[in-house]
């Protein structure tokens, strides 16, 4: 085992510095496919978040037993089991949302971000750190999905959180916002090219923010150094 990582650092890595969708660019298939609306993005994001936490925890618990030669098939088995459990639970408890997300739930198995975290982090760290890492990576991915979904839904349909009742029940209808009434719609945003362009814009925005942060801290350090 490597030295104990600082949990805050682990958290910030997953959420910002190594954000799966915006920096590492893993798991793009679901990212691009389901982000037509906020609710779809949130649904798949939460399912992926749960998968990441559960698979990271299981891998970390079993890490003492796992030999290098069987670790990949073992990861696949663990992740596939976790995803199937989540699929069954969604089918039982959020049935309407399950009908919308349909095929993308089993496809979480193929999200390389999950096996990536199992291999690069969970199999080398104790369960608490692995859980924090799964949580942060999942949150980062989920936020990316929601942001991209919001961008595309707003541009494409002029609404936000439409069909929220699929996730939150009848109370969810109150959350549905028509931001731009009588909006004609902007088809490109909803179609697949809109997903690529939207993702590109989000990546650019994140890079810009990051560059600004670095510049500011450099200026700050200089000022401190001079003082």
């Amino acid at each position: 085992m490597t030295e104990r990582p600082r949990l805050k650092q682990v958290f910030m890595d997953g959420l910002w510095h190594q954000n799966t969708g915006l920096v590492v660019l893993l798991g793009l298939c679901p990212l691009l496919a389901v982000t037509g609306t906020v609710v779809n993005g949130l649904g798949l994001g939460l399912a992926t978040l749960l998968t990441l936490v559960a698979s990271n925890l299981s891998v970390s618990w079993l890490r003492g037993l796992l030999r290098p030669e069987i670790r990949i098939p073992a990861f696949v088995l663990i992740i596939a089991s976790v995803v199937t459990v989540i699929q069954l639970l969604m089918q039982a408890f959020v049935h309407d949302l399950y009908r919308v997300l349909g095929i993308f739930i089993p496809l979480i198995v193929t999200n390389c971000a999950i096996i990536g975290r199992a291999e690069a982090f969970a199999s080398r760290h104790h369960p608490l750190a692995a859980m924090v890492d799964g949580l942060a990576t999942g949150l980062g991915f989920c936020l990316t999905l929601v942001l991209l979904g919001a961008l595309r839904e707003l541009l494409g349909r002029g609404t936000l959180l439409s069909q929220a009742h699929l996730m939150f029940g009848e109370a969810g209808r109150a959350l549905e916002l028509t931001v731009l009434p009588h909006y004609e719609g902007f088809l490109l945003a909803i179609l697949p090219p809109g997903a690529f362009i939207g993702l590109g814009l989000l990546v650019a925005a994140r890079n810009w923010l990051q560059a600004r942060r670095v510049r500011r801290s450099a200026v700050l350090n200089k000022a401190l150094g001079a003082a």
């Binding site: 796992l66 030669e69 459990v85 494409g156 088809l187």
Partner: protein
């Protein structure tokens, strides 16, 4: 040398055993969760179907359980030829009220459009809904009742209303609107509903016949 071979064999076997153990744990977990959720999932699917049937059937006009009164048939005009079409029958006492056909418009812009069409015993439509489709978002999806009222235009129609040559989208000289930028999707739905009506007219009595699996004719 032999010691080394034994070592390798031991390692391979214990790796395989470990993998098998993980597989057994995973399978056990799945079996348990499946057992716990099975009834609830079946119930959810039933409820979803009841809600869908409730949207197309005339409210309060029947007193049986259409979900328990079904028949399965195959016909080229209702689905791709190898696929079964499910029919739910609504009755009041022994009187036929309506049949709901779970049929397919095979010629959508992006493949199959799954429809529920409810036809009253007198040949009028009491409701049509799209169950699933892969039409272009923003262009073809006004066929969903959640997105526009278009699909409601079928309610009350029959093979005679409008007359056969007007059973089509506006572009083809018919009475049903098309959408801006999308003609293929509404055309596919209109034609599928018309075919369902024609099938109903030709096979009405057979559709209501009890306890018999009807086959292709």
């Amino acid at each position: 040398m032999s010691g080394k071979t034994t070592g390798v064999a031991h390692q391979v076997l214990s790796s395989a055993g470990l993998l098998a153990l993980i597989a057994i744990l995973g399978t056990g977990l799945l079996a348990a969760v499946n057992e716990l959720t099975r009834e609830r999932i079946a119930e959810q699917e039933r409820q979803a179907l009841i809600r869908q049937l409730g949207r197309v059937l005339p409210e309060g006009a029947y007193d049986n359980d259409p979900l328990g009164d079904t028949l399965t048939l195959r016909h080229d005009s209702l689905s791709r030829s190898d696929e079964a079409v499910r029919v739910y029958r609504a009755r009041k006492g022994e009187q036929p009220v309506a049949v709901v056909l779970d049929h397919v418009a095979p010629d959508g812009y992006n493949g199959d459009i799954q429809l529920l069409t409810s036809i009253l015993a007198d040949g009028r439509i009491s409701g049509v809904r799209v169950v699933s489709h892969r039409e272009t978002p923003g262009l073809g999806d006004p066929i969903e009742a959640e997105r526009s009222d278009w699909i409601l235009a079928f309610t009350g129609r029959s093979l005679e209303d409008p007359e056969p040559e007007r059973w089509g989208v506006t572009r083809d000289g018919g009475v049903f609107d098309q959408f801006t930028g999308a003609t293929i999707t509404p055309r596919a739905v209109v034609e599928a509903v018309q075919r369902a009506l024609e099938y109903h007219q030709a096979n009405r009595d057979a559709l209501y016949r009890r306890n018999e699996q009807k086959r292709d004719d």
